[in-house]
Amino acid sequence: MEITRIIISGFIGGIFHLDNVQFGQFFLSRPSFMGILIGCLNGCPVEGAVMGILIELIYSDFLPLGGSVSPNGSVAASCAVLLYAHSFQNVSLAFFVAVFAGALYSKVEFFLRKKRSAWNAEMEMEINENRFKINYWIMKALMMEGAAAAGFIIAVSLVFNVAGKICNYATVFPVTDLAFSLVPWIVLTALILKFRRQVMGCKLRKSQETVKNK
């Protein structure tokens, strides 16, 4: 039953992850939403929401500019909820493991993007041979990305689930609990600094324009 839930949640996480880059960008893959969604499936929507919003705020430090591969919030939020519900029963440890898992997934995404570069030559050949079917390539990209995310979420959850039978996670809870209680203050400070820098940047540009106009 536990494994079935992990697998179903993993696949749902993989499908919603597609919204992140591959289709739409409707924000359905934002960690705060994914945390609640996967949390509802696993009986812990509140914990999912808490971990989701903090992951979202931590990752807002990274912008997907010019094709840079940022840590993946939707994968991290899905992992966080599954780790909480099926392995740790502790929000703080699940959060920290998931934050680093999201960063690790960016390596998988990097690999997929690199692998897709080889498709261009194949596609050009197909166009020249009059047998080009773009729908097939789009579907292939979606399937690959969704399957990779789902597989990653399931793998992370199962690894820690199995490891939990050998190690006692409870020994690190005091440390992670304390660190987790300080995370909201760090992300809020980061937010203020981020917008302060932007406001200062806008002011600087405006003053430069005024000088130029004069």
Binding site: V21, Q22, F23, F26, F27, R30, S32, F33, I36, A49, V50, G52, I53, L54, E56, L57, I58, D61, L63, P64, L65, G67, V91, F96, V99, R113, K114, R116, W119, N120, M123, E124, I127, N128, N130, I134, I138, A141, P174, V175, T176, L178, A179, F180, S181, L182, V183, P184, I186, L188, T189, A190, L191, I192, K194, R196, Q198, V199, C202, R205
Partner: protein
Amino acid sequence: MDRKLRIKIFLKSLFIQSGWNFERSQNIGFCFALMPQLKKIWPDWARFKKALLRHFGIFNTQPYMAGFIIGNICSIEEKISSAKNVEEEEKLIKSSTDIKLALASGFASIGDRIFWGRITPITSILCLTVWAIAGFYGWFLCDADLTVATHILLAGPLLGIIIVTSVSLYIRWKGIEYGYLCCGSKLCGLDMLPWTKIISRLSLTGFVLSISIFLFTLFSASYYYYKNFGIEGLLFKAVLVAAAIGIFLIFRRLKKSIFLVLATLLVFSIVVVIIARIEGIALIL
């Protein structure tokens, strides 16, 4: 461009980032979105093939702003198909590639600043604001009561989803229309809205909202710790929070990643937990 074709292009433009690759970025998604128009104006496969290969090169922009470029290229392709001679056709083909690359970087810069740099974090703050109004403080009071209705939880992120989706769909839809009407202009859409003003207003909104949510969190947490743990508990927590913010600011100044900050925070917590377990100090604490 008729409505049916525009809807087709619009729907396909939602896949603009499908097949994103390092060699040519969004070229697959861009060609996918252009397909309906190319098929319409180039019924002959040989010409269609040439047009498709023309646009199969590198293309990278902010996905919500891609409509402007797609619309523009659709109208240039129409012009190419009705060119009177080879020279005119070649001139138009060259200008289509130039315009595509120039607009892609221009709109990427605007879109990244507006959506990724400002609206995304603002929606996160809105989510926290909705939860604060509804009385859910679980995200910063870890040991507080965590019972809350699921619809209140969902209301936070859904507000952001609705805002971003409606704005992005509008820009995507209007972008195709506006781009098509520009008909090959290199400034196409860059003057549609006062982008600079929007960017600076969003920055200011984000700044005010972030300070407000910080102050709200500060006062609520102070009250909670004072009420439940007394002045000693409040002071102990304040010292820990100040230390954590200090660690963050030092690492920020050194331009280090947030992951390093989190790792340091874990090390700091280990030290605090060990110290707190030493009998004499535990008594003082």
